[in-house]
Symmetry: C2
Subunit: 347 residues, 2 copies
């Protein structure tokens, strides 16, 4: 049983036994839950864990970067609902044998990142752990009641858009993992490229623009790859999707790493997450009208990559030659065996 099946089972358990009270507007199953805060606001909350050896390795992540990544990954869930950060809580289990400075570096990475995005650290829990390092960050955001952008509200005919060039973080990871093994091709990684993995930027500003312009019908942040995360929208919304193979915003870097590994150019975009770009759906031509403004105000690219269809559960890609291919819907799955996953770090 894979992670997603486990989560589905737990969700069913939780839904069976819990009825939302007056305060609960949305429970398990989206990037955040929603809780009423007064008459006209809602709080959005999400919790996100990163584990040494699963989400990062300490031989190419500094403790500071672990703190940055843990905070950014959690804050990205607020962006995915278009919520404004309010604050965060962190729980860290760290080895007793870790250097004196390790915990301070990690805390500095956490606190700096929380501060940078207006999501100050308001509490936490610290535990000695035999191993490995585990950091869980819970974020609290707020937004006007009823304005959260959910996964479940995409409609057939909607356009599918992404910010930036998803897959870059996974491409960096592939390079670092190959270098680590001491074999295979070793393309250069610039500092800017490495930052895509080590210090991802939650797309809060982009989400705010989308909310203000009323553009997104559904949204998610890309943590497991376009295929897996788009599929979450499809399952929640009861739709299918067709991706335009020639329009995917694959960076030159990501394409080159994929080529060196004999993978398709779009491999990391489809199956590698962790750069936390946004994927959203929008009514036809709606984004186009605001595209110049979106790009100018956010300094981020927005790319139309496909269309929502009424073929429930079908995720396909149309190639330049017109051929339709089914896309495997999985991304990185912590509970699957290494040979069936797409990411090097799972082995």
């Amino acid at each position: 049983v894979g992670e997603f099946e486990h989560i589905a089972k737990i969700r069913r358990l939780a839904e069976k036994t819990t009825l939302p009270g007056e305060s609960v507007r949305l429970g398990i199953g989206d990037d955040c839950c929603l809780v009423a805060a007064g008459s006209d606001q809602e709080f959005a909350l999400s919790t996100d864990t990163i584990v040494e050896g699963v989400h990062f390795r300490l031989d190419y992540f500094s403790y500071y970067q672990v703190g940055v990544k843990a905070a950014a990954a959690a804050i990205s869930d607020l962006a995915a609902m278009a919520a404004e950060p309010v604050g965060s809580l962190a729980a860290v289990s760290i080895s007793e044998s870790a250097a004196e400075s390790a915990l301070e570096d990690l805390a500095s990475g956490l606190i700096d990142t929380c501060e940078k995005y207006g999501c100050p650290l308001l509490g936490g829990d610290l535990t000695r752990s035999p191993s490995p390092l585990v950091a869980t960050v819970t974020v609290i955001g707020k937004l006007p009641a009823g304005t959260a952008i959910r996964r479940s509200t995409a409609r057939p005919g909607d356009e599918i858009w992404v910010t930036g060039s998803p897959g870059d973080a996974a491409a960096v990871l592939a390079v670092l993992e190959n270098a680590r093994g001491g074999c295979g091709p070793r393309p250069q990684v610039t500092e800017e490229q490495a930052a895509r993995l080590h210090e991802p930027v939650p797309r809060l500003a982009e989400a705010r623009l989308l909310r203000n312009y009323g553009l997104a019908t559904a949204m998610i942040d890309i943590s497991d790859g376009v295929a897996a995360d788009l599929n979450h929208i499809l399952e929640s919304s009861g739709c299918g999707a067709l991706l335009f193979g020639d329009r995917l915003p694959v960076s030159e870097f990501s394409r080159s790493v994929a080529g060196n590994l004999a993978l398709r150019p779009e491999h990391f975009l489809l199956y590698g997450g962790e750069d936390f770009e946004l994927l959203f759906t929008s009514g036809q031509q709606a984004v186009q009208k605001h595209l110049a403004g979106l790009r100018k105000k956010s300094h981020t690219s927005f790319t139309l990559i496909g269309r929502i269809t009424d073929k429930i559960g079908e995720l396909a890609i149309i190639r330049e030659n017109g051929r339709l291919e089914q896309v495997e819907k999985t991304g990185f799955d912590h509970f699957k065996k290494p040979e069936t996953t797409n990411r090097k770090e799972s082995s």
Copy 2:
């Protein structure tokens, strides 16, 4: 450097870099942080981690009980501020080699406990971990603005009260740890006693009564023992305390286990936590007037155990013969070496 010093350092870092925004009413340093929710309410939030081999062992905790304990420990932080539960988020890192049923049992324990206390599970994150099992639960509670009972508001002259008989969970743990080693005395543990460790009861009802009667001037839940947790109140409030040695509500069971281990009768009450009783301060004679009602409505005992003094930082105990002794202020400290801690499981 011990855990408490680490936390103090992180707190200073966080305080230096973060200014509470309009929404943040209370940051790091109490059982919960407080965030404004509309004009007349506040949300209280806390995060709590339990780690295999540190907070529990799987040879005398079932997965179900781990779930119960993780949820109860977190919900207890809401009781400590006298907040009403709204919902919870759980992050679990579990070994890939754990049995198929383990995760479901753990989730059931979590979900049942959250449901039991009106704190439904609203979201979560699930990760494969090489080892050990780590469960982090974040709880959200609410209360009328300004009514949270903090640690920092005890005043010299206030009475010090506790609910129930703190230390029972630590006594059970001592019995189980001794049985585990295959040596030492093995007193019988009844199911009811064992439940004090395995399925602690967050004192929500008692906290609600204290809030409604306006009785508590400061409050904390006892997770590390009366000595360490009372000391948190003393440090936050800038006071000292004198405990009445002949009035401590040590259960017969806890006294007997301590005796068998050649420890003082009050050892587990002072230095063992995890049964999550409440410790609170109150104006003179204030509780006495409501004592019958408190006991009848909550079915829990309330015991006067001491007095807040103006001797800043001094924690003393007065013995039956009138002798004053200083009390060591430490409880269980995850970052200290085994020989300096008071709990068996730390070794």
